[in-house]
Amino acid sequence: MNSHRINRPNARIRRDQPIDFTFDGKAYQGYAGDTLASALLANGVRMIGRSFKYGRPRGIIGHGAEEPNALIQLERGPGTVPNLKSTQVELYQGMNAFSTTGWPSLNVDVKSIMGRAARFMPAGFYYKTFMAPAKMWPLYEDVIRRAAGYGRAPVDPDPEFYDHLHHHPDVLVIGGGACGIWAALIAARAGLRVMLVDEQAEMGGWLLSDHNAVLDKCSSDTWVKRCLTELDSLTNVTRLPRTTAFAMHDGNLVQAVELLQDHIVPAARNPLLPRQRMHKIRARHVVLATGAIERPLVFGNNDLPGVMTAAAGQTYLNRYAVRAGQRVLVLTSNDWAYGAAADLATAGARVILCDTRAGGALPARDDATRKLGVDILKGHGIAYATGGRSVSGAQLVKLDPHKDIAIDAGPRVGCDLLLSSGGLSPNVHLFCHNGSRPAWDENRLAFVAPAQGRPGIACVGAVVGEFDLHGALAQTTTAVRAVCAQLDRKVTAQVPRIAGATLPIEAAPARAIFRVPDGKREGHGAKAFVDFQNDVAASDIELAVRENYRSIEHVKRYTGLGFGTDQGKLSNVNGFAIAARALGKPIGEVGTTTYRPAYTPVAFGALAGAMVGDTFDPRRYAPAQQAHVKRGALFETVGQWMRPWYFPRPGEDLHAAVNREALAARTSVAMMDASTLGKIDIRGPDAREFLNRVYSNAWSQLAPGKCRYGLMLDENGMVMDDGVTSCLGDQHFMMTTTTGGAARVLTWLEKWLQTEWPELKVYLTSVTDHWSTCAVVGPNSRAVLEKLCTDIDLSPEAFKYMDCRAGTVAGVPARVFRISFSGELAYEVNVDASYGHYMWETLMKAGEEFDITPYGTETMHVLRAEKGFIIVGQDTDGSVSPIDLGMGWAVSMKKPFSFLGKRSLARADTARSDRKQLVGLMTEDPAVVLAEGAQIVDGNGGRGEAAHPVGRGPHTGAGGARAARRSVGRVTSSYHSAFLGRSVALALIEGGLAKEGQVFHAWDGGKLTAAKIVSPVFIDPEGKRQHV
């Protein structure tokens, strides 16, 4: 039953649309236009959660994004959403919401029992406890984890999708309150392209909570409606409600997330629309009209359910027609809360207003408020509230007029709703996302954004400290006029005339009070909370300062102040003020902590947009892709490419398939798709000189029709890429790179040419996807090619190993390269990519009589490892030089130009003889295949030492230093060789080149396996097979 729902003119709920919902399984009713919070309050539900550390009962404190307590879990199953603020959840029919704290239940919470030992759990207590024994830590962590935490992450895939939109308006107005609407209207009327965003479903900001103002002779509701109607009629305006601008980046790039369908019953959502949309807005000018949030006062037991901000009490009443209590106590340091008191009184509540200022408000306001039936007590504060699971009263204290001291006890007041107001805190977050800090305005008792903004960003309204409606609209008019002028538009806007507020406008100065004194030393009275979500009390902040944390950033980290999903919106300023007092410094000097995106939490889905699943990264396919799919290939991703991994026949696993493919390659003929390797076309009179500079080997003598393996070093002398480069003409070369390194190498080459060698006449073109490459491999490869190619002399004398020829293959113009990554006779047939699929299929047909076998990257890896050929990035890691690889033959020290990397090879460290060097490894047991990545250890193998862990620190307690071994390298490549009938491996081992024949051990998961260092060339060391 909606016991707290009353008649309230101008409320924004729609009584003709009742809504049924459940909370923790219990059924309730609300209305369209309610938030979950307003509907719960209407039904008298107050306790929504249990606090993080102490398990104290908690209820709703705020009415929007600032809510720290009332977090709920929405729905269950794939659509569940954790950690939503009930104040921001728009009610829909059939909603199921759940509390997220309290174990085993909200009502009976075990942690609250612990909370009675709160004395022993001040801020940071866990830094000083749970020290020993260390082995109990996993248990402590498990228990603590389960006791804390809000909500459960979904475990099912998200059934909905998200997308991104980019915008480039002239003016982006952030905030759809009075000033934001007015700013948007001025700019729109001036003909500029305007975007207006606001986090709420309805625009109007504070005007939705306080209907008393009269603007331009009409009610504020009518004024807002008229403005919005005009905005919506203009084609140069995009107005987005339910859209939170949560980040402001450099260059006026704003990210905003729009909740397109969160408010719609899940079953009724449009499946063709995203659930949420991320807007990336690059505006020429931004207008920040983000307003201000009222902060509460800090006093004992201020966390009881039923204690709220005055703004929240007023909002629930005027916007949602919920009178959250009938006996209301309002505590204030300023005039604004008088509006809440007045409105609640006219709504039939008994209201007592406790003003901390000795003089209270000015007579006009004081009289007007008393006339409405409000009892006003001046010069008093609240020492502590009383109540169990709901506030039932408060103990007042008499305050010194000037100092924060309680000079006498005050009356005890009964109440069922306690509202407090400590002043307004401007929402400066977006302005400060660039790392700047707001300035403390002593007159306004607020951290404000500068009224002059900064280049490209105007700040208007409450965010600069203009808390009075007329002043705010006037300042807005001036600021936006200036923005329009910068964009070459003239504006003739008249500031809207404000009239007819029910309470007089002139306000008495607010009192600078944050923590209301209770007459006791801090920490000795009832707990006074500053940050509700993290259970940070005023005493914790003073403790941090006592423990000598002087910087406000350290105070924040030590206590937890400002962490959490509310990011300190209600707590930060109070916390800074309390810290300042403890430090003996003015608040302005203590300052604020750093503001960072996001202003409020953003779903990962919204951030990812459409870049999930199949569209997470672009997929690149070789031209013959369908042929591979048809033959049952399994694929692996190499960079963005899909490469066939192996081609299993029915019943084969990876090993069976690879053994068969590898044997076919060495005994008959097999074929691999090598289209994905990077290919760079290099031309120009200085092409040779260029190659000499970027490769370690020599290119001056390479004649047209010849290919050479090139080793590319970085300036540290380390191998960064490799590949075969072929001479197609005296000034024309084709460079190949690794598949994964293609883009990186092209960029590397471009940078050198443009920044260091602009005088070289060299032209680079990426042709990776212009050419398709079929590698025909094996003793019968020539025979296969001969069937399809008649205009190239394929005889071994005419077409030698490392030659290349142009001709026609299967009727298609082709370049044929006699290069081999397997050590077998092999030809790589390159054709225009459009013929790639055709060429593959034609070669397969021609090879049928030789049982031609398609193979993938796994077999490719095995074949090259058997020959000791490196794979950059697997056998190298950026710290391996050509000398380490035993490839001194690929380094030409005689070239006139000091090629890239050359000088570094002479560095003392690069020339060490005990560097990790590439060797082959043969296991004692030929059936054992070493694990790639296994560490190689020194010391004796020996039986009985197998269990000793390697290289761990003093915590293992598994024995003394004698048992620990040192890692001297690792296994980089390891496979079973079908051809040899045993395992082969490559490894990088300290000084390995001089240790052939020695036995080392590979350590893997506690097991040691003996292996002997051998030459990395396991098959055909003389290279006869590739020369046939």
């Binding site: 790039l253 920044t755 000091s898």
Partner: protein, 97 residues
Amino acid sequence: MLKFHCPHCNEVREEEEFSYAGEAFIARPAAPDGASDAEWGDYLFMRKNTKGWHWEQWLHSAACRKVVAVKRHTFTHEIGGCWTLAEGKRIYLEEQA
């Protein structure tokens, strides 16, 4: 997210189209083989690392693929300007004078 006016494309483009290419105007020693380990190490590793105006290179990788010279304030991320390498070098040398 920064924006750059690419002098080659003659348009303002988003940072996402570019990739960072290191401090600008670093000259590779003309005779590396004669440089000491210290001198060579200086070239390889030592950078100005200015807190303030910084001359750097960005490659317009998604478009013209030209390396441009950018003057960026490393604290405020204000962009002082984007020029061709030649023009940027000229301005840079003027500033040093």
